[in-house]
């Protein structure tokens, strides 16, 4: 159904951005009320790929929901694996062996880098640069190969299990990861920063565009690079340490400007921090089992618990309510982009349409995760 274009006396009209638009990275429709080139009102319309994951969770067992988690955020699937695993482990009181925690950290950080690389390529593509996308995909391909080697799949990994991981990593993966770290480090300054970050077009498109104040972030519950780009040093890995993060030395990049450039820089710096985390975890990698003894059918006691992880886009939270049965009684999935996008309506007011696309790109939206 197409909306009629209304030309009211004050000369505003409605413009539909999406649901099929390259800049929305999926099927997201934004209903824009425009005054010429300026946005008067923006209203994101969601739900085009809503699949009701939460109902699916209620219908199966705990383990049967596992393959659903990577289908939400397919770009950082392992973070969602981990969030759900942590919630169930917390409810059932399962301890994860140390080696498994290290493997989880290494793989999840690799996944975070691949997510940021894809975002980088696609974001520059939104802004009109095609070449960087190919460089980013070249590096991302290496990560996909590494992860395929351990997990068996390339995109929708279903690798973690309650109390551990599916199978152990081997020397080939470890040497491959070390090589990749070296390779990305050598490519970052030239291919990424010289070519794009210092480019005048990028700076003109991003600097002082799309200011998000820390207050707005708090009001809307935005997390992840959006929040850190507004100068708030908040990262679940540091503020609510889980897994082995307290033992590792890494920084939380944050920029106080709050514009698109700040969010861009946060993600670029996060790639380097993730490399540091992987390097340290590889050095410290202990031996031992990768899977705790867990009964085949889990029956956690009645009660509810909450677990949060830092996914590539922000805080992924799982509220799990059990009633002593084989499956969740209720599972709430708090996805980061849902909250991150909800502030778009407020900041888009009075913005140029071209800038709004840059802002939307800088929020790093993954639509299946918003719609769930």
């Amino acid at each position: 159904m197409t909306e009629p274009i209304l030309c009211t006396p004050d000369e505003t009209f409605v413009l539909n951005l999406g649901p099929q638009h390259p800049a929305t990275h999926g099927v997201l429709r934004v209903k824009l009320t425009m005054d010429g080139e300026y946005i008067v009102e923006a209203e994101p319309v969601l739900g085009y790929i809503h699949r009701m994951h939460e109902k699916m969770a209620e219908n199966g067992t705990f383990a049967q929901f596992m393959p659903n988690t990577p289908r939400m955020d397919y770009l950082s699937a392992l973070s969602f694996n981990q969030g759900y695993c942590m919630a169930v482990e917390r409810a059932a009181g399962i301890e994860v062996p140390e080696r498994a925690e290290y493997i989880r950290t290494i793989t999840v950080e690799l996944n975070r880098i691949s997510s940021h690389l894809l975002w980088w390529g696609a974001f520059i593509l939104d802004l009109g640069g095609f070449t960087p996308l190919l460089y980013a995909f070249d590096d991302r391909e290496k990560i996909l190969d590494l992860l395929e080697h351990v997990t068996g799949s390339r995109l929708t990994y279903c690798y973690y299990r309650f109390g551990g991981v599916y199978n152990d990593i081997d020397d080939e993966f470890i040497t491959g990861t070390r090589e990749f770290i070296k390779r990305l480090r050598s490519r970052m300054p030239t291919l990424y920063h010289d070519l794009v970050t210092g480019n005048i077009i990028l700076i003109k498109r991003l600097k002082d565009i799309g200011h998000i104040s820390p207050e707005v972030c708090r009001k809307y519950g935005a997390t992840g690079p959006v929040l850190r780009g507004s100068g708030i040093e908040y990262d679940v890995r540091k503020n609510e340490p889980y897994s082995i993060y307290p033992e590792l030395d890494f920084d939380i990049p944050h920029y106080p400007e709050g514009d698109c450039m700040a969010r861009y820089m946060v993600r670029m710096d996060e790639i380097e921090q993730s490399l540091r985390i992987i390097e340290q975890s590889l050095d410290k990698l202990p031996g031992g089992p990768v899977q705790a003894k867990v009964p085949k059918t889990l029956k956690p006691p009645a009660g509810d618990c909450y677990a949060a992880v830092e996914a590539a886009k922000g805080t992924f939270g799982c509220r799990l309510i059990c009633d002593g049965d084989k499956g969740p009684y209720r599972l709430k999935l708090r996805s980061p982009c849902f909250s991150n996008l909800s502030l778009f309506g407020e900041i888009a007011e009075g913005m140029l349409l071209a800038d709004a696309l840059a802002v939307m790109g800088s929020l790093d939206l993954v639509i299946p995760e918003i719609d769930r």
Binding site: Y220, Y306, R334
Partner: protein, 244 residues
């Protein structure tokens, strides 16, 4: 003071009865700590006096040591009256030890309204608040005022108890970690709760989503139309008696 304790006492404003009993318990606990400390001090004092006496005995100066002991005895006697009196007058959390409050004992069901301190390792939250639907706005105001932000809103359908639950997860971005969950129970036949979207605008979308899935009405919500479901959806898929 620990942030968990501070938030707990702020939230207890909503529950005067629990606040009174908790305050009493705190006073008692504090008094016990004082008494214990005093007893310990006295015991130490006595031991010291004894040792001094012994040393004096050894030195052969019995008389001086005997005089010294009674001199040191009076102060502990005077102290209790001084310290307990103001504590009873104003049972405020400031009188507390610095640490986090102890984990509450699991209440028998149905759980009374009030604040519970949860074991973070097992539950993932520090404070668990159950309030009546009309207290939700007040709780949200208290928490946002204390620097919290709303992370998510969700519903639960307790079909056996003919009730619906709405959970609000609060978290903070600065300082030490403290997660708070505010819950409220609504009758299943007419689930209605005031909106918090005017206090935390981020709740707007979450409440629309909860309305989609459970049919819970958020009174005063400016735009309560389906967000994830189709715009003409008149069903609520997360209800336990929903059949597609």
């Amino acid at each position: 003071m620990s942030i968990i304790r501070e938030t707990k006492w702020a939230l207890l404003e909503l529950f005067p009865e629990q606040k009174a009993t908790e305050a009493e318990a705190e006073v008692a606990a504090w008094n016990k700590i004082i008494a214990d400390a005093r007893a310990k001090a006295e015991a130490e004092e006595a031991a010291k006096a004894k040792a001094a006496a012994k040393a004096a005995e050894k030195a052969g100066e019995k008389t001086e040591a005997a005089e010294k002991a009674p001199e040191e005895a009076p102060p502990p006697e005077a102290a209790p009256a001084e310290e307990t009196a103001p504590a009873e007058e104003e049972p405020v959390p400031e009188m507390d030890p610095e640490g986090d409050p102890p984990v509450s004992i699991e209440p028998e069901s149905p759980r009374p309204l009030g604040v519970l301190v949860r074991d973070y390792k097992a539950r993932g939250v520090h404070l668990d608040v159950l309030c009546s639907p009309d207290q939700v706005v007040e709780a949200a105001k208290l928490l946002t005022g204390a620097g919290y932000f709303l992370e998510s809103v969700t519903g639960v359908d307790w079909i056996k108890e003919e009730q619906m639950e709405v959970d609000y997860d609060f978290n903070r971005t600065d300082g030490p970690l403290c997660r708070v969950v505010v819950r409220t129970r609504l009758p299943r036949s007419a689930p209605e709760v005031p909106t918090v979207s005017d206090i935390c605008p981020g709740a707007g979308w979450h409440e629309r989503e909860t309305h989609d899935f459970f049919g819970i009405k958020f009174i005063g919500h400016p735009y309560l139309v389906p967000i994830l479901l189709p715009e003409d959806a008149d069903y609520h898929p997360l209800l336990k008696d929903f059949t597609p």
